[in-house]
Symmetry: C2
Subunit: 148 residues, 2 copies
DNA sequence: TGTAGGGCTTCCCATCATGGGAAGGTCAAG
DNA sequence: CTTGACCTTCCCATGATGGGAAGCCCTACA
């Protein structure tokens, strides 16, 4: 029925946990819902629609702040699509930057792992790299010689 | 020289901030340093070497927990390089998984942004997708059929 | 000798988004 | 009338880092 759902029903209808619905309300991302006489939150279909919007935005990696902006644009019939596109484009750039950083890590790690025999002996180019390229890393007996 | 550095000197020598050095000590990643009479921390070259190891591991994306394991292996002359390689390999897999997730987001977002005219009018396929109205055929990653 | 400054110490708070759990109210079914 | 499944608020934890306050210590300089 579209009359009203309690928070648990709204959660399963939207995919947003009850915990998160309360949190979104607390930080002002969504407006406080109506309450029943016994102080239970109740949600309309429209409010669940908003929650699904948020869920989808989050699943595309938008931050809550970006999601808030997108939500405002969605609800603004006078919006310019350019504003929406700008949010998306900047998010794409951010994702690509982070992907690039991680790919650099993967490339280095794969090289090191490839060079590591991965057997029962202690010699390990991965540790040598972490220790600072050197042969020094092979035998770190100097470490933790303080105290006892 | 190599007699002793205070925390600020150790920080600039290792690239790890003083704040983080104290934190690593607090969580047990590094051992508490010696102190001077006036309670200042002092670091040896060896301890700075450990800090650089941590710095390098972090820059390759290892978590502090993984870094702790790598550090222990580094300092264990009886280690098997297979153990080190296992940590690295699992980290590579994690990175690749996250890269994949982000690439999926980028792909969807680029498609939506491409379809968005980005002008002064309100029509916007990006918002339509987020609202769930749009062409769900475009990317049905909607299916969060993960409940139970 | 006094003071300014910079470094050090500990302690608390904030981030970002989410979950866990306690203590207590409320409702529906048995 | 009990049991259990909801709901409520409140506090705490995560991971890794930074900000900043209050206070101690040392050095340099007038």
């Amino acid at each position: 029925m579209n009359i009203g759902m309690n928070i648990g029903q709204a959660a399963s209808a939207s995919g947003v946990s009850a915990k998160m619905i309360r949190y979104y309300e607390e930080i002002g991302l969504i407006r406080p819902s109506a309450r029943t006489a016994n102080n239970y939150r109740i949600y309309s279909e429209d409010e669940v629609h908003v929650l699904r919007f948020i869920k989808r935005a989050r699943s595309l990696g938008f931050s809550l702040e970006e999601t808030e902006r997108l939500l405002a644009l969605w609800q603004d019939r006078e919006r310019e699509s350019a504003a929406v596109k700008a949010v998306a484009t900047s998010h794409i750039a951010d994702l690509e930057r982070r992907i690039g950083e991680m790919q650099t890590m993967v490339k280095t790690l794969k090289h090191l792992a490839h060079c590591c025999s991965g057997n029962a002996r202690p010699d390990c180019p991965i540790l040598e790299d972490l220790a600072g390229n050197g042969a020094e890393g092979a035998d770190p007996s100097f470490a933790h010689t303080r105290d006892g």
